[in-house]
Symmetry: C2
Subunit: 189 residues, 2 copies
C-alpha cells in the first residue's frame, strides 16, 4: 500500500475518533496528513469510501492483535475466556488506542440502510461471535448469551472511557466479566 494512502488512513482514523466523523472535513484530513485533496481522491473514491476503509482497517487490526495474544497465551479454552478482558484492557489503555470505530460510527450513522452503519453493525456482530466461539470451546451452555453480556460490558466500558478518559470503567468491567464468566463456567455441560 502506498505510503500516502496509509498516512491518510492513520490521520483520518485519528481525526474521526477525536473530532467525530461528520465534523471532520477532507480538507482537514489532507492538511494534517500533509498532502492534497487530489491525492486523497486518487486513493479513495469518496469520503464514505475512506470512512469504510478506516473502519475496516481498525477492526482487522484489533481482531488480529487480540487473536494473536489469545492464541499465544494459553491453549485452554476456559483460560482464553478469562484472559480476554485483560487483553482488551491492554488494548484500550495502550497509547495508540484510537477508540473502537464501530461503536462511534453506528452512533453517527443511525440509518440502518447506510453502508457505514451496516459495516459497524457487522463488525459488532463479528466481535460478539468471536467471544461466543471462545465460550463454546470452553463448553459453556449459553455461549451466545454470555458473549452478548460480555460485549455489553466491553462496549459500555469503551464508551465510558471515551466519554471521560481515565474513568476506571475497565477495571470494574473486568470484575463484572469475571463474575459472569465464573458463573457460566460452573454451569458447563
Amino acid at each position: 500500500m502506498s505510503l500516502l494512502k496509509s498516512k491518510i488512513l492513520v490521520v483520518a482514523s485519528d481525526l474521526f475518533q477525536t473530532r467525530g466523523i461528520n465534523s471532520t472535513g477532507v480538507d482537514t484530513i489532507v492538511a494534517v496528513a500533509g498532502t492534497t485533496k487530489m491525492t486523497l481522491y486518487k486513493y479513495f473514491r469518496s469520503k464514505e469510501d475512506l470512512i469504510l476503509e478506516v473502519l475496516e482497517k481498525g477492526h482487522q487490526d484489533f481482531q488480529n492483535w487480540l487473536n494473536d495474544k489469545l492464541t499465544s497465551s494459553t491453549k485452554k479454552p476456559s483460560e482464553k475466556l478469562q484472559k480476554l478482558f485483560d487483553f482488551i484492557e491492554e488494548w484500550v489503555t495502550s497509547p495508540n488506542f484510537r477508540g473502537m470505530g464501530f461503536i462511534k460510527a453506528s452512533a453517527e450513522f443511525p440509518n440502518e440502510e447506510n453502508p457505514v452503519h451496516q459495516l459497524s453493525s457487522e463488525q459488532s456482530r463479528q466481535f460478539r461471535q468471536y467471544i461466543s466461539s471462545l465460550a463454546s470451546e470452553a463448553n459453556i451452555q449459553d455461549a451466545d448469551g454470555l458473549a452478548l453480556q460480555l460485549s455489553l460490558l466491553f462496549e459500555g466500558a469503551v464508551q465510558a472511557e471515551q466519554m471521560k478518559r481515565g474513568s476506571g470503567a475497565m477495571k470494574y468491567a473486568k470484575k463484572a466479566a469475571k463474575i459472569l464468566i465464573d458463573g457460566a463456567l460452573t454451569h458447563t455441560v
Copy 2:
C-alpha cells in the same frame, strides 16, 4: 411552554435520534414540525441551544419517569435495585422510546470542551450517581462500583438496541444485572 416550541423539541429529538444530530439540518426540523426557521430561531438562540434543550428534556423525562416508577413500586431499597432494570427495559421497549440522548450525543461531539459533550457527560454521571444512591440505601459496600457496572450494562444494551432493534440485548443485560446485584447484596455491611 409554547405549543410550537414543544413541537420543535419533540420533532428535533426524533430526528436527532433517527438521523443523527449533525446530519439533521434546521430546515428539516422546521419542515417536519410544520413551521419556519424564523419561529425556531425565536425560541432557540442557535442549533446548539436546541440540541442542549432536547438533551435536557429527554434526560429529565427519563429520570422523572424512572424515579416515579421506583418510589411507587416498593419502599425496600434492595427491591428498588432489583426492579431498576425491569423499568429500564419497560422504558427502552416502549413505543415512544427515542433512545438515550446522552449516549449518542457524546459520540457525535467527542471534544470535551464542547457544551453538548459536557452536558451528556454530566447526565451520564447523574444517572450513575442515581444508581449508586439506590445501592447505598441497600447497604451495598462498593455502591459506586456496582453502579458503574450496572450503567455499563445499561449503556451497552441501549447501544446494542440502537444498533440493531430487537436484538434482545436487554434480556441478557437484565440477567447479568441480577447476578451482579445478588453478588453485591451478599457482601453487604
